[in-house]
């Protein structure tokens, strides 16, 4: 499991992407992240909810209450129009960034 600062800078995009696929609640997202990265990256709950706050403040996502599960109502998040645009933009940015970093990292081992 890595906990790198590089990933930290992209947590917003990672979470936005998951919410973009379908509306999700907190635990579902953290589970998805562990699952898809095969546990190579795990998000701490504290980080996750801090990112939710930030994304909501920037109006990239919005929340609503869903069905009642164990204990309480699940708080679901859905992506906004602005969020979709932002995600698209970060995806484009990432592509360029990756190309640049690859220029210097490729061929080393």
């Amino acid at each position: 499991m890595i906990r790198s600062d590089i990933i930290r800078g992209h947590l917003e995009s990672i979470i936005l992407r998951l919410i973009y696929e379908n509306d999700q609640y907190g635990y579902e997202i953290s589970k998805q992240i562990s699952l898809r990265t095969e546990n190579r990256f795990q998000i701490k709950e504290a980080t996750l909810y801090a990112v939710f706050q930030r994304l909501e403040k920037k109006e990239l996502i919005e929340s609503y209450y869903g069905k009642v599960s164990h204990g309480g109502k699940r708080k679901y998040y859905r992506i906004t129009m602005l969020g979709k645009a932002y995600l698209k933009e970060t995806a484009r940015e990432w592509k360029v960034t990756k190309e640049i970093i690859d220029l210097f990292m490729e061929g080393l081992d």
Binding site: Y27, K44, E45, A46, Y49, Q53, H70, G71, G72, K75
Partner: protein, 138 residues
């Protein structure tokens, strides 16, 4: 499950009361519970699951800064400046008294040699350091 609830309450205890806080607290509690149920469903003992959920939570400071708790810190800074100012005042008056005493002893008992300058210089470090501490905080 009480342990989770207590833990969440503990985490949020020094965050000032607000509607936002209650909402996020409720959300975190609900999701941690969900995590515990999920871990139990995967075959973990409930106690292990609860502990795992708590350990993996991470550092609450991240959420604090998103909730704007730094406002509270700013108040704390104000208090620290206030205290530094009191320290500075105290050090000025304290050193004046000590220096006056030195001058008095010097002139009264040994007027032929002027030695009070030396302790005066030594004592001046006190208000001087307090002054710079106060200025730094300001």
């Amino acid at each position: 499950m009480n342990k989770i609830k207590n833990h969440v309450n503990e985490l949020f205890k020094d965050i000032p009361k607000s509607e936002e806080k209650e909402i996020i607290k409720q959300e975190i509690f609900q999701n941690l519970e969900e995590k515990v149920y999920d871990l139990v469903a995967q075959g973990k003992e409930e106690e292990d699951a609860v502990n795992k959920a708590i350990v993996e939570f991470g550092n609450i400071d991240e959420i604090k800064s998103e909730l704007g708790v730094y406002n509270v810190n700013r108040d704390g800074d104000g208090k620290r400046i206030e205290r530094a100012k009191i320290d500075l005042n105290f050090s000025i008056w304290g050193s004046i008294l000590i220096i006056a005493l030195m001058v008095f002893i010097n002139l009264y008992y040994s007027p032929s040699t002027i030695w009070f300058v030396y302790p005066t210089f030594a004592i001046l470090w006190w208000p001087l350091s307090m002054f710079y501490r106060w200025r730094k905080l300001k």
